[in-house]
Every structure is written in structure tokens, then in C-alpha cells.
């Protein structure tokens, strides 16, 4: 089990509660009062710690080893999932998954970055860092969704597209660019949700939605805090400062108007209660999808264009 530094005091109290409960059942002693007190204390402590998280702590939560990934949300929110593989050009990329499934009984396309839970899985999933083939698969499936009139729901969770020799040989930048343009022109509803890490262009590639949602403790940034720190502050150890400077939290992005809705996670973060977090996410997706279903194909493309066309701040200089 992975426990982050700032989670430790809460976990410590919970461990004590478990001990007391065990003791109570073993020796038949009544610790109910004591247990209730500790439980209240643990809840209060969690609220206190989580109401004042730094951007860097939020980045840690977004990367939490036990955080639910796209395939977990597929389990919770969709039925009849048919995963489809391959870009038809070169390879299958398990770092970006896709397939059709039913959401409230209606067929949709699901796309998302997928990380692994252990070393073996991460070797397969490349830590959720897609190669060009992942983006070409996403493009291929998005076109399929357009042809069959299926809404597209994407789930963003990557530290970034994979920077390697093969990636460059096979056109990583071209693959991402084509994914962006393709998604911009889809005549179906598109909702993108940042569920964990929103790491630069490799995240945005599947992020061109009519709506952009973000989980409470996800982050979305032009560059990783570590990357920003080593370029601008000349050393990677100042990542916490970079995380703050980049304004990458869900609250920041909601404030910028880049994100339409911040979806609340379970208390203590999505990994504490994935089912409850999925329930919140499902509710938000349902509501936005219903609104978008009222638009015609042309209106959907236009709506998405307006959504991104308005992004940016500048002034007229004299």
C-alpha cells in the first residue's frame, strides 16, 4: 500500500481504530465510545489536511499508485465494453485504450490513457505514456464513432507522450496533431475528463471536447512540474515551486474557464473510495451528455470550435 506523507497522520489514526476494534472483538471489552471519538478525529483531520493541499500535494494525489484508472471507471460506469486494438499502421499501444461500451444503455466510445498497477503491468502499459500508435488508434476509433454517431468520452491520465527514438521515427508530433484535428471535427458529442495526470500535449491529444471535466485532485499542465523546474529554475528539485507557479489544479483551471466542471472525489481522494468517485463522475457525464445530445452534428462541431476558439488572454499594445 502506498501512503503519501500528508496521508500518514490520517492512516495512523485509522490503524489505531482498527487495533481497538480488534481488541474489542477479541476481549469482549467495550471500546465503542473511544472508537467513535477516534473516528471523528480521523474525519476532522482528513478534512483539515485536504482543505489546504498545496498544488504539489495535489500532483502527488493525481499520481497516487492506487488511484482509479480509466479501466476502473469502465468497470464502474459502463456495460458491454468491447475493447478494440491497434492503429492498423504499425502496432497496438496498451498505454492508450479504446473501445465501444454502453453508458446508461446507450453506445459510446471510450478512450483513455491507461497506467499499470505493478512493474509487469507498467512494462506493458509503458506507465501510461503512449507512443504514436496510441494516438493513431485514438484517431481511428474517433472516426469510427463519428461514422456511427456514437458520443466520445475520453479519460485523460498521462504524464505525457513517450519521448523515445521510435516515437520520433514514427512521428509522435504528427500523430498527436492529427488526433487534435480529428477530434475538433467530430460530428458527435465529445466529453473529456482529466481523471489523474494531464501532462501536456500527450494528454490534450484526447482532450478536444465540447465539455472538459476534471476530477478534484487531478492536474492539467503545459509541462510537468519537474520539467518546468529543470528548465526555468535550473534544477528538478524545485518541482513543488514549479507546481505552484504553473497553476495546474482543477480549481485554477475552472477559474481560467478551461474546465467546465470540477467533479468531487471521495473524501481523502479517489483512491479511498473509487466507487463513490465513479458515481460522482457518472452523474456529471450523464448531465453534460444529455445537454449535448440536443445539438445537431453541425452545432456540435461549432460548439467545440467556440469552446477552444475563446481560449487565450492578450491585449492590444500601443
Amino acid at each position: 500500500m502506498t501512503v503519501l506523507d500528508f496521508e500518514k497522520p490520517i492512516r495512523e489514526l485509522e490503524r489505531k481504530i482498527d487495533e481497538l476494534k480488534e481488541l474489542a472483538s477479541g476481549e469482549g471489552v467495550d471500546f465503542d465510545e473511544e472508537i467513535r471519538k477516534l473516528e471523528r478525529k480521523a474525519r476532522r483531520l482528513q478534512v483539515e489536511i485536504f482543505s489546504d493541499l498545496s498544488p504539489w500535494q495535489i500532483v502527488q494525489l493525481a499520481r497516487h499508485a492506487e488511484r482509479p484508472y480509466v479501466l476502473d471507471y469502465v468497470q464502474f460506469l459502463f456495460t458491454d465494453f468491447a475493447e478494440l486494438h491497434g492503429d492498423r499502421r504499425f502496432a497496438e499501444d496498451p498505454a492508450l485504450i479504446g473501445g465501444f461500451a454502453r453508458f446508461d444503455g446507450e453506445p459510446v466510445l471510450v478512450l483513455g490513457h491507461q497506467k499499470g498497477r505493478n512493474t509487469k503491468e507498467n512494462l506493458l502499459r509503458n506507465f501510461g505514456m503512449p507512443r504514436p500508435e496510441g494516438y493513431r488508434k485514438a484517431t481511428r476509433l474517433a472516426r469510427l464513432a463519428a461514422r456511427f454517431g456514437r458520443p466520445v468520452l475520453t479519460f485523460i491520465d498521462t504524464s505525457g507522450a513517450y519521448p523515445g527514438i521510435g516515437s520520433e521515427e514514427r512521428g509522435q508530433a504528427q500523430a498527436i496533431a492529427e488526433c487534435l484535428e480529428t477530434m475538433a471535427g467530430l460530428p458527435v458529442p465529445v466529453i473529456a475528463t482529466v481523471i489523474g495526470e494531464g501532462g501536456s500535449g500527450g494528454a490534450l491529444a484526447i482532450g478536444v471536447g465540447n465539455r472538459i471535466l476534471m476530477l478534484q485532485y487531478a492536474y492539467y499542465s503545459v509541462i510537468s512540474p519537474e520539467g518546468c523546474s529543470s528548465i526555468l529554475f535550473r534544477e528538478p528539485t524545485r518541482a513543488p515551486r514549479a507546481a505552484e507557479a504553473l497553476k495546474l489544479t482543477a480549481g485554477d483551471l475552472r477559474g481560467f474557464g478551461v474546465v467546465d466542471e470540477v467533479v468531487l472525489e471521495s473524501p481523502g481522494g479517489a483512491h479511498r473510495d473509487p466507487a463513490r468517485t465513479a458515481e460522482n463522475l457518472g452523474r456529471a457525464l450523464r448531465q453534460h451528455l444529455a445537454q449535448l445530445r440536443a445539438l445537431s452534428p453541425d452545432e456540435l462541431v461549432e460548439d467545440r470550435y467556440r469552446r477552444f476558439r475563446g481560449m487565450g488572454v492578450f491585449e492590444q499594445v500601443e
Binding site: 519521448p163 508530433a173 501536456s200 504553473l246 497553476k247 499594445v317
Partner: protein, 260 residues
């Protein structure tokens, strides 16, 4: 070395500046393509006196109140004074061999040609103008990618410009993208690699990730010529490599062959 003389960074030949400018900043001895300023590039390619600049007064704000060794605001103001332009991109309309074109070029000297809100907005307006005026689109990229100092706003310019191109394809005029040294990151991974025809100057560094990032990730030295124009041509990622002196004719030829 200041003033009238400069040195080629590759062959170390001492070069006479006026001659160098005459040759569009290409070393006469080794053919190394030195950086070329945005306006010089556009003037060299477009028909004489045909260029009309658009949005020349669009300048950056500082939405993150970003500060590293210097405040972002001070950095951009300083560069505006030094370079005589408020941001890293020059755009406008003109003619090329008589064809109407909307053309733009990066100013690499301005924060490494990085794309923030101003660059993204100017590129987008230029694409919209090309569609509206039924003109061909010609973009010269030279950029390290998205501008960190404007955070997620910079990232979103990738989506904005790519979405504008999706609309541009409704028209029947071509988009010729010219990749110059260097074109990487968020610019490479959006409009720069979305040309109907993609040309590159010789030996330009072009790719998604910078070589340093790749070396750190894979923990090995990269082979010579990796991510250079010649490497990309060999891997099928660009249409042609065109020396600077021939760019005007090549772009005009393509616009003539593809335009309506």
C-alpha cells in the same frame, strides 16, 4: 563580434553581414542555414511590397503572474523593446506569384519562438483569414514549443490552432507548412505538422521531444542526424527538404499545382 562581421557557427568562416543578409542568412561557404527573422522571411518569399501585416499590436498578458529568474511581464516587455515586436509571430496577407496567400512566420529570438496566447491567436486568425479570403496558407515554424510561462493557456493553443485547421480544410486552398530550425514540442505537435504539404529547411531539428529529454529518458546518446530534416524525410514524415534560396519557387509551385 559586433557590427559588420559575424562568424558561421558551423564552418567558422568570417562572414560579411550585408552579404549574409543578401543570401537570406545562408552561409555561402558551407550552406549552413542561420536563423532568419520573421519579417525577412516573409519579405523574401512574398511578391514585392505585397505583404500587409495583421494583428501587429497583439501583445501578451501574464495570466499566471509567472516569475522565474525574471518576471514574465518584464521579460516580454524587454523583448518587445529589443526586437520591436510584442510577441513571437508575424502574420499577414500578401501574394505569391500572384496567388493570394495568408502567411506567417515565427521570431525565434522572442523566447525561443514559444507559443503562448498571442502566437496561438495570431495563427488562428491567420487560418480563419485564409479560409475567408480563399487564400493559400503558408506558415514558417521555428519554435521550441508551448510557452511555459502562460501555463495551460499555452497548451490550449495547440487545440485552438488545430481546430481552426479542421475548418480550413472545408476550403479548396492548400496549407504549406515549412519547418525551420528548430520546430519541436507543442508547435510541432499541432499546426506545424498538419500541413497539406510539409517542407523543411536542410538540417533543421524537428520533433516532438527535445533531444535532451529523450537522452535523459532512454539513458543513451542519440545517433548523429537524429530528428534532423534528412532523418524525417527518410522516415516519411515530411514531403521535401528545400534549401532557403529555393523556398519561394517551391512554395509557389505547390500553391499553383494545388490551388483551385
Amino acid at each position: 563580434m559586433e557590427g559588420l562581421w559575424t562568424k558561421c557557427e558551423v564552418c567558422e568562416e568570417i562572414l560579411h553581414r550585408p552579404d549574409l543578409e543578401q543570401a537570406q542568412n545562408v552561409c555561402p561557404r558551407c550552406q549552413h542555414h542561420l536563423p532568419l527573422a520573421a519579417r525577412a522571411r516573409l519579405t523574401a518569399v512574398l511578391d514585392r511590397d505585397s505583404f500587409e501585416e495583421m494583428d501587429g499590436a497583439l501583445g501578451p498578458l501574464d495570466p499566471l503572474t509567472f516569475s522565474d529568474s525574471k518576471r514574465y511581464r518584464d521579460r516580454t516587455r524587454g523583448l518587445r523593446k529589443a526586437l520591436g515586436m510584442p510577441d513571437a509571430f508575424v502574420a499577414g496577407t500578401g501574394r505569391l506569384d500572384g496567388h493570394p496567400v495568408a502567411a506567417g512566420a515565427f521570431e525565434f529570438e522572442f523566447m525561443g519562438g514559444s507559443m503562448g496566447s498571442v502566437v496561438g491567436e495570431k495563427v488562428t486568425r491567420l487560418i480563419e483569414k485564409a479560409l475567408e479570403k480563399d487564400a493559400a496558407l503558408v506558415l514558417f515554424s521555428a519554435s521550441g514549443g508551448a510557452r511555459m510561462q502562460e501555463g495551460v493557456y499555452s497548451l490550449m493553443q495547440m487545440a485552438k490552432t488545430s481546430a481552426a485547421l479542421a475548418r480550413f480544410r472545408r476550403g479548396r486552398r492548400p496549407y504549406v507548412s515549412v519547418l525551420c530550425h528548430p520546430t519541436t514540442g507543442g508547435v510541432a505537435a499541432s499546426f506545424a505538422w498538419l500541413g497539406d504539404v510539409i517542407l523543411a529547411e536542410p538540417h533543421a531539428l524537428i520533433g516532438f521531444a527535445g533531444p535532451r529529454v529523450i537522452e535523459q529518458t532512454i539513458r543513451q546518446k542519440l545517433p548523429d542526424g537524429f530528428q534532423r530534416s534528412e532523418f524525417l524525410l527518410e522516415h516519411g514524415m515530411i514531403d521535401a527538404i528545400v534549401p532557403r534560396a529555393q523556398l519561394r519557387d517551391k512554395i509557389a509551385q505547390i500553391v499553383g499545382l494545388l490551388g483551385p
